[in-house]
């Protein structure tokens, strides 16, 4: 009967653990009332009757990447501050299998507009938009004109133009005349960053050495969320003589900054003004500049239009140097001495004198 006794003891232990869990759970649910939902937004019901209910679907990595996704959230937050309302966020699972369901659920629960952050939604948003014709959809980084769906707007950026200026800045500031580029995933979008960066650097010095590498191949999203591998790649570049590395690798960028700190060299951030978003003062010191991709401005402008009832739909809105959708950050003051030269290149791109390539 030894076995039976052990089994009974096992059951008893399980019950005990379970009960403990329930008790703890009870405590937790008691003090839940206070904070009122962490993602509820700060608008606090100021909108009145037709309150803005924004659905925000993130790219892999979700909020907290201090880069792309956070920038989109900042835009939503700015719109809520102005117009009132609330936001419901959604992050897909690692394999990305629930993107369609996530978008559909947002629409189903009455969130309107629904904004998909990232080109990864490009092949799923079309069908969802057609399933929910009364909801207004927007997608960042993906062109939708060809789809011709009335309730879907594309918000796209001229990343290659901003990256061109980053390349100019890197070439002007590099003492070794050797620079590097770390891309997250070898996708057409990130290749635009690489193409612009290389073109900008070569415009300053045709003989500059540029080491461009990607963390993961097309089809493997891990490169946007893998600081360890970002660090290894950047480390290799610094060891190989590069003194400035530009990253377009989302959440992996912190690894690049760590490598820059370790090597005592410089790095260029991406999407947000990363000088402002990193916490570590040591990392602040190595961020020479950031290629700003004002996703926040794009999102804010879209939401402003939505509130005003001015959404055209079925088209793409493009943000470039001219509309200040992309650009370089100046915080930290490390590129102050070359601002005039950067400004000249900026003007030549805006005037059309320089056409920046989108593929490397």
């Amino acid at each position: 009967m030894r076995g039976a006794r052990i089994r009974k003891a096992g059951v008893r232990a399980t019950a005990l653990v379970l009960a403990g869990g329930l008790a703890l759970a009870g405590c937790a649910s008691d003090d839940d009332g206070g904070d009122g939902g962490s993602s509820g937004g700060s608008g606090g019901g100021g909108g009145g009757g037709d309150e803005l209910k924004i659905g925000l679907a993130y790219d892999t990595g979700g909020r907290g990447d201090r880069s792309f996704n956070d920038s989109a959230y900042a835009g939503v937050q700015a719109a809520i501050d102005e117009h009132g309302g609330e936001v419901q966020e959604f992050s897909p699972n690692d394999g990305g299998s629930d993107r369609v369901e996530g978008l559909a659920t947002l629409a189903e629960q009455g969130y309107n507009p629904v904004i998909a952050v990232g080109f990864a939604y490009g092949d799923s948003i079309g069908e969802v938009a057609e399933d929910f014709p009364d909801t207004t959809f927007a997608i960042i980084d993906s062109e939708v004109t060809e789809l011709g769906i009335d309730n879907l707007t594309g918000i796209v950026f001229a990343e290659e133009q901003g990256s061109f200026l980053a390349g100019v800045a890197a070439a002007l500031k590099s003492e070794t005349q050797s620079i590097g580029f770390v891309g997250g995933v070898e996708s057409p979008l990130i290749q635009k960053f690489q193409a612009g960066f290389e073109a900008g650097a070569r415009a300053v010095n045709p003989d500059i050495a540029i080491n461009s590498q990607y963390i993961s191949p097309a089809g493997d999203f891990s490169g946007f969320n893998d600081p360890a591998r970002g660090q290894i790649l950047a480390q290799g570049m610094y060891d190989g003589g590069a003194d400035i590395v530009y990253h377009a690798a989302g959440g992996s960028g912190t690894g690049v900054f760590q490598a820059a700190v370790a090597a005592g060299q410089l790095a260029i951030g991406v999407d947000s003004d990363q000088y402002e978003t990193v916490d570590d003062p040591a990392q602040k010191a190595v961020i020479m500049t950031s290629m700003l991709k004002r996703v926040d401005n794009g999102v804010k402008a879209f939401l402003d239009d939505f509130v005003a009832g001015d959404i055209e739909g079925g088209t793409d809105v493009r943000y470039d140097l001219e509309s200040e959708g992309v650009g370089l950050s100046e915080s930290g003051g490390q590129i102050d001495d070359v601002l005039t030269q950067i400004g000249e290149y900026r003007d030549r791109i805006i005037s059309g004198e320089i056409t920046v390539p989108t593929t490397p």
Binding site: D31, F119, G122, S187, P188, P217, G219, D220
Partner: protein
């Protein structure tokens, strides 16, 4: 008592694991200041309207089908003591090649679909076959080689996708292969649902569900009703004993890996033939690794794997909805992770209980203390009590079967 008891013990491990995992996850949710019961409510509530409920079931089944196939692929190798971690690479490579081939040919509908399925199985089997050949000829651990081949497969798939097999227009944000024409697509089962008097769901139910069920039955029959299946399980339980009784272990390794790889080749097809019709940079990833978890949870039996796949499907369906309750979707990952950890521990406990009860039975039969003799096999670490009682689940790297090295 034997049969009922055995089934009871077989269920005890996973059930215990599920409970432990739920408790741990509940504690995690409580620790971040949210209500665990709200989470449980979200996970178990399929929807308020009949249409929403049908939609939820479709979402669960559509997720469970590839997970079931992945679990099956892993389990076939597991049963022989082979740890095929390369399922991820096998299915990714199989999917891209079958997608490209399927888009390139034009055949009448049923033949076209069959052709794509066969190509996918062949590619999966080939990729797994490399692992098997390395193992029997050079003694390379299949764990190492299959992990390494995952990276090769992903890199290769990336190269093929952006190079020779690229079918999407230049400059498109998502690179894909060319689209498979109508005749190569698998008809969906939505008609069956509406035929049963259910509401029409928003998404289509994958027709590949039928193939998955057929493959599940086939594997089940193969393992439990054929000479090959007996040899396979015998080799898994004791390689030396199997070799001694005339089983050609090298051939078994190769055949088993080929079958495992062929099943792995099917994993991407429900999505490919049911909704995407092309392989692209955004194709569902990670199914191969989840398959390991599903196989562990399902204790390597096809029915168990089906239940485990459904459970994972239920949890995955809840991930978007949990976020609406301010509970991070990572909770689902935590639940899945703790289930797998707990199932390993739970299986071990169930195994020991089974051994004790067998020892006791042996002792009662001979009238002697259990440790007095080795009657009933009580002395060895392997499970006595019939071939099916010994579904060993490996908790780590399985030992190199003896007699495999050259």
């Amino acid at each position: 008592m034997g049969r009922a008891r055995r089934i009871g013990l077989a269920l005890l491990g996973p059930a215990l694991a599920l409970v432990v995992a739920l408790v741990i996850s509940g504690l995690v949710i409580a620790a971040i200041g949210e209500n665990p019961f709200a989470a449980l409510e979200v996970i178990t509530n399929l929807g308020d309207t009949p249409a929403a409920q049908v939609q939820s079931i479709v979402v669960i089944l559509n997720r469970a089908v590839p997970l079931f196939l992945a679990g099956l692929a892993v389990s076939v190798a597991f049963r022989m003591g082979l740890f095929n971690i390369g399922v991820e690479g096998q299915y990714r490579l199989a999917t891209i090649l079958s997608a490209a081939v399927g888009a390139a040919v034009n055949l009448p509908a049923p033949v076209h679909v069959l052709f794509i399925i066969v190509v996918a199985m062949l590619v999966g089997a080939f990729w797994a076959g490399i692992v098997a050949v390395l193992k029997v000829t050079r003694g390379v651990s299949e764990v190492i080689s299959s992990i390494m081949l995952n990276f090769v497969a992903l890199g290769l798939a990336g190269y093929l996708l952006t190079g020779p097999l690229k079918g999407s227009p230049e400059g498109a944000g998502i690179v894909t292969t060319a689209e498979i024409p109508e005749s190569g697509r698998f008809p969906d089962l939505t008609g069956v649902l509406t035929g049963l008097g259910l509401e029409e769901p928003r998404s289509e139910l994958f027709g590949f569900l039928v193939v998955a069920v057929v493959v599940g039955i086939a594997i089940s029959v193969l393992l439990s009703r054929t000479r090959f299946g007996f040899d396979l399980r015998a080799t898994g339980l004791s390689p030396s004993a199997a070799t001694a009784s005339g089983v050609d272990t090298r051939r078994m390794v190769i055949t088993t890996m080929l079958i495992s790889g062929a099943v792995a080749g099917l994993i991407g097809l429900p999505d490919l033939l049911g909704s995407d019709y092309e392989y692209g940079t955004e194709f569902t990833a990670g199914l191969g690794f989840l398959g390991i978890a599903v196989a562990l949870l399902g204790r390597n039996s096809p029915i168990g794997i089906a239940l485990a796949a459904l459970l994972f499907g239920v949890l995955d369906r809840a991930a978007p909805l949990l976020q609406f309750e301010d509970i991070p979707a990572s909770v689902v990952t935590i639940i899945q992770g703790t289930i797998v950890l707990a199932v390993v521990v739970g299986n071990e406990i169930a195994r020991r209980l089974a051994r004790r009860s067998a020892e006791r039975a042996g002792a009662a039969a001979t009238g002697a203390p259990p440790d007095a003799g080795d009657g009933g096999g009580g002395g060895g670490p392997d499970l006595p009590g019939g071939p099916d009682g010994g579904q060993r689940t490996y908790t780590g790297v399985p030992g190199q079967p003896e007699g495999v090295r050259p």
